[in-house]
Amino acid sequence: MTYHANNKGYYGEFGGAYIPEMLYPNCEELRQNYIRIMEEPSFKEEFDQLLKDYVGRPTPLYFAKRLSEKYGTKIYLKREDLCHTGAHKVNNTIGQILMAQRLGKNRIIAETGAGQHGVATATVCALMGIECIVYMGEIDIARQAPNVARMKMLGAEVRPALSGSRTLKDATNEAIRDWINNPVDTHYIIGSVVGPHPYPDMVARFQSVISEEIKWQLKEKEGREHPDYVVACVGGGSNAAGTYYHYLDNPDVGIIAVEAAGKGVNSGESAATSALGKVGIIHGSKTLLMQTSDGQITEPYSISAGLDYPGVGPMHAHLFKSGRGEFISITDDEAMTAGLEMAQLEGIIPAIETSHAFAIFDHRKFKQDDVVVVNLSGRGDKDLDTYIDYFKL
């Protein structure tokens, strides 16, 4: 039994590549080459070097003493917030830009919601001197002005997605359309473990550096590679996939996925896909997604733009459906409170996405000697305005 993707990109019943024929050659080229390229010594060497010298890896595994005392268990934080550009997203964009170069592509497109993945993509494109176009919903452009400015400063073109609800899902549609229109020279850097095969598996592999490091870091600190639990927030689920990756098939490690309940799971304004979603197809992948009874994809809501996605990566759909993962939904209010607590107990202001993961300690008891590793996926600088508004700081 494995919780990894099979060679057709299925995690149990989820995944695959439900794509129009126009995308088939692009995805097929990637599918046939991604594992071979990732295993080339020269690729590994360049990837590792950039992660070390440019991204700043390994990121620390930090024992959160005061948080642990408060909740009566041993809590470690994996400090992805200390990565260059402020979140785990860059692990994937470094990997994919190297992949694009080896596939001979000279034009990069990406989608972004809050702008974190857009910034991480614009960053690696600047690093490599490659043209970069980022699709972003018109509404997100208005509410994430600093990240739009960052992308522009990094030399990327930010194109507004004007269709549908003008947010992340529509930005993704536009990026896919661009790829259909530019099938030869363009690589599409998807930012999460979503999309058609091989994206979910490829992105998970690039992010797997997170749990690879946790293993040896925990061994140094606790004398064992395996925590009792790994915890991460899930929107599309890339930071979670990286955090779980090397523990997926180890039943001794509990997997906890934290979703955004928004204003409450049953409020009609939520992004808790595991609770509200049904099996369907979004952006080329069979997975759980929020939709009407008629199969129209609905708009999610969360205070955190990074969790505001109506689907979830197929790996996570499978973890949920199989019972391997424990899924908890956290409301906006609970997340904001947990973010403030983290700031005042540990001196770390987390991204609001990550704040959702910390809120579980009010929901779920752990044993005194449990070792719980939480992925601190991003830092809160980008969310300062939201925190200011919320707490009237």
């Binding site: 024929e21 126009m22 979004i282 199969g295």
Partner: protein, 246 residues
């Protein structure tokens, strides 16, 4: 006009401009000599479509179109219309309706087949082919200028009816016109001696592009240009549009 003997097929989005225009549009298309109709089942996230079809889909959904309503509108269609009718839509709404229930309903109504751009031929072949065949429905697959010869042969083998030849690497409604790349591609496909006829779609917008596309192919499909015409001229203008094509 030039393209005599070639099939003219029209795509429109069901429920647009108004929810109950479906029947009238189909009947008027047949009356004006259209040979085949693709009835678009609107979807919230039509990945392969350009702005025109996306906007008409969004509007149709806003008008209240659902799978059930479309089936109700089409219930008696075979009493008044005899040309081939296909439903074109994305896979998720069909999946939610239930693929078998969907096919059964199509059969009852007298729909001839389906075009589902995001249901790849391999998945169809392995998981759904038996259901489609049980209900006597053809499933139409797309090929593009980038589709390999081997894959075209496979699609030809699995197809019954015709092959939908996407004219260029683009979403629908791009309307860049046809150049040498298309001409070569059309020629290349026609020399492959496929067992299914080919009908060209994407980028056909007037009599000129229709004539170019049907030089070697059996027919062509017009979608975005027709929808644009309806938007600008209203639902009573079907015959005007068809007469600009042939």
């Amino acid at each position: 006009m030039a393209s005599k003997g070639k099939l003219l097929s029209i795509y429109f989005t069901a429920g647009y401009p108004d929810l109950n225009d479906t029947l009238k549009i189909i009947q008027d298309l047949e009356k004006n000599g259209v040979d085949m109709i693709e009835i678009g089942l609107p979807f919230s996230d039509p990945l392969a479509d350009g702005p025109t079809i996306q906007q008409s889909s969004t509007a149709a959904l806003k008008n209240g179109m659902t799978t059930e309503i479309l089936f109700n509108q089409l219930r008696d269609i075979r009493k008044s219309v005899s040309i081939p009718l296909l439903i074109m839509g994305y896979f998720n709404p069909m999946l939610q309706y239930g693929v078998e229930a969907f096919c059964k309903k199509c059969r009852e109504i007298g729909i001839d087949g389906l075009i589902i751009p995001d249901l790849p031929v391999d998945v169809y072949h392995e998981e759904y082919r038996d259901i489609f065949e049980k209900y006597g429905l053809i499933n139409v697959f797309l090929i593009t200028p980038q589709t390999s010869e081997e894959r075209i042969r496979f699609i030809d083998k699995v197809s019954k009816g015709f092959i939908y030849m996407v004219s260029s690497a683009s979403v629908t409604g791009s309307g860049k016109g046809f150049g040498n790349v298309q001409t070569d591609y059309f020629k290349r496909i026609s020399t492959m001696q496929l067992s299914n006829p080919q009908i060209v779609g994407f980028g056909i917008k007037d009599s000129e592009t229709f004539a170019q596309a049907t030089k070697t192919a059996k027919g062509a499909i017009i979608g975005s240009a027709f929808i644009k015409h309806l938007t600008e001229n209203g639902v009573n203008s079907v015959s005007d549009f068809i007469h600009t094509i042939r």
